[in-house]
């Protein structure tokens, strides 16, 4: 029973363009959502988060959008850079944190 889904295992984007990573969830109890980035041989690194009372949060090149009615969130990276190439995990929480399976992003120079 996957409560947090990332249906795209991989994504390739040209440098300078927008990267959009998607995430869907099933449990309406989730009230806080996070995105983490993971490079090989390193632990996940926190990127950005959003509370369920908001629909958008921005931090530099990273913006997270939340659509509660659709139980969908997305991470936008603009402009994409080669250093953004990593695995991105969507996570959702109410009492514990549930991670999605991840999307591998490749930014092509």
């Amino acid at each position: 029973d996957q409560q947090v889904k990332q249906n795209s295992p991989s994504l390739s984007v040209q440098e300078g363009r927008i990267s959009i990573l998607n995430c869907d969830y099933t449990n309406s109890m989730f009230d806080y959502f996070l995105w983490y980035k993971k490079y090989p041989a390193e632990g996940p690194t926190f990127l950005i988060s959003i509370s369920s009372i908001k629909d958008k949060n921005e931090d530099g090149r990273f913006t997270v959008f939340l659509n509660k009615s659709a139980k969908h969130l997305s991470l936008h990276i603009v402009p994409s850079q080669p250093g953004d190439s990593a695995v991105y995990f969507c996570a959702a929480s109410y009492d514990k944190v549930i991670f999605g399976p991840g999307t591998s992003l490749s930014v092509i120079p």
């Binding site: 926190f46 995990f89 929480s93 999605g100």
Partner: protein, 113 residues
């Protein structure tokens, strides 16, 4: 400022054996969580420790147990190892006031043969 550290980096064990993994949280953090990450999957929550007690637990059998020490460091113990326990084990720390923005260590790669 040291981040989250974990030891050992890699470990190979035989089915049926027991293993202990160790974690030191980031300075100033008092809450430690453990995750199991199988190949191609996201981290799965095992349990969380705060004030030396298990505060929350995921869907893992009792073979998985833990401990937190007064200095906030933590151990994960797995008994009667199965082949399916082979995974990357991640430790994450946070301040109790931190709304789930956890800092992760690099993980311990456990291989069960």
């Amino acid at each position: 400022d040291a981040g989250v550290t974990q030891s050992p980096t890699h470990l190979i064990k035989t089915r049926g054996q027991q293993v202990t993994l160790r974690c030191s949280p980031k300075s100033g953090h008092d809450t430690v969580s453990w995750y199991q990450q199988a190949l191609g999957q996201g981290p799965q929550f095992i349990f969380q420790y705060y004030e030396e007690e298990e505060r929350q637990r995921g869907n893992f059998p009792d073979r998985f147990s833990g401990h937190q020490f007064p200095n906030y460091s933590s151990e994960l113990n797995v008994n009667a190892l199965l082949l399916g326990d082979s995974a990357l084990y991640l430790c994450a720390s946070t301040m109790t006031s931190g709304r789930y923005e956890q800092y992760f260590g690099p993980g311990t790669r456990l291989t069960v043969t």
